[in-house]
Symmetry: C2
Subunit: 223 residues, 2 copies
């Protein structure tokens, strides 16, 4: 049989199980049982468990980054080289939120897997995540073009906060829903995206209006 068949059966089974039960308590034996292949197949095809996880994450990660850049390019082309800041931020957080939120999330294994990645945090993935920085620099550059007056520091913080709001919404959907007794509709993905983008834009545009942040230095002793 084509060796690819076993390989992709493992990948699919692993992603499904990780998505459902998290990285913590899914063993290789669980995976091979789900995939109907031999236990040794994982090490034969991937080398180790960590490399299997890494391949899963890298695949989905590249998909996400590709989509982000596609939307970023579209935003900048629409503006003739300089994108609207809201559209740039939408390109940054949109794919994540669209992928991980919404009512159809239950049906997409890839989405549930990426949510797991955001909730849990296994070393094998943390290592790879650091490469994401180069990717983010492209957004910083685009933001710089959109807001040439803004200082670099403000742009960094703006991007940081935008990602923070998006990722936390993915990670803590449950808490927000419980806290608000379901009043915060996380399934209306477009509304959530608009919300995050709006706040991020405010953070960026309010900052460059010269009003330096004024730290309250009331010297509250911490303990």
């Amino acid at each position: 049989m084509a060796s690819d068949q076993t390989r992709s059966a493992i990948l699919a089974a692993a992603e499904r199980l990780y998505a459902d039960r998290g990285f913590g308590d899914v063993t290789l034996r669980d995976i091979v049982a789900e995939a109907n292949v031999n236990l040794a197949a994982v090490n034969y095809h991937f080398g180790s468990k960590d490399e299997l996880i890494a391949e899963l994450f890298v695949t989905r990660s590249l998909q996400l980054n590709r989509e982000r850049l596609r939307e970023l390019r579209a935003a900048e082309e629409a503006g003739g080289g300089v994108g609207d800041i809201a559209e740039i931020l939408r390109a940054l957080v949109g794919p994540t939120l669209r992928g991980c939120l919404g009512p159809d999330t239950q049906h997409s294994t890839a989405a549930r897997f990426m949510i797991r990645v955001n909730i849990e945090s296994v070393p094998a993935i943390r290592r790879i995540r650091n490469r994401e920085i180069d990717h983010l620099r492209k957004f910083i550059a685009a933001m710089k073009r959109a807001l040439p007056e803004s200082s670099a520091v403000e742009l960094y913080w703006g991007l940081h906060f935008a990602l923070a709001m998006a990722q936390q919404t993915v990670r803590d959907t449950e808490r927000l829903t419980k806290l608000s007794d379901g009043q915060c509709d996380v399934d209306d993905v477009d509304a959530v995206i608009a919300r995050v983008v709006k706040v991020a834009v405010m953070a960026l545009t309010a900052a460059d209006s010269g009003s330096k942040v004024a730290p309250r230095v009331m010297a509250r002793e911490a303990r």
Copy 2:
């Protein structure tokens, strides 16, 4: 010897090791070696490994919540029952950021432990975290008093975003620092707090100015 001595030696050693190396690869044998006690002591005093972790987390968590509520009360008393929204949010995110950021963080075991809790995510802790909701409701109530015009939904989102920015800053300090080549000074805790609070306040006050969020429904197909 007083049994408390062994108990607290275990707690201290465990917190130190978890803070330094994460929950993933610290075993009971590591802990008892560090604490200079017998292996069986952990199960004798705590019942199980998970209960040890839980006790560590609960202790620090209660400390954090106490501090938050203390500052919340101070904020509301200063305003004669109704606190300034910025001060309320500062009471929410201040303790977290002050505890987990700053140059002295390297020296505080408790701080590094709480950072770990934010970065990794072990089931024993996730279970407990859900109780945090009742605590957050007190902040929602205070925010409601400060901004009586705002709808509940806006308040929930505002609190959610405030926590998002604070926690992500704790969690991803390294990424922000690397991305900005050190230009974003995360060690200036007061400035970071001011930044987070400022954005959160903007998110809250801009929302209740009638401008409903306008979702872009350009029906981009997701795949």
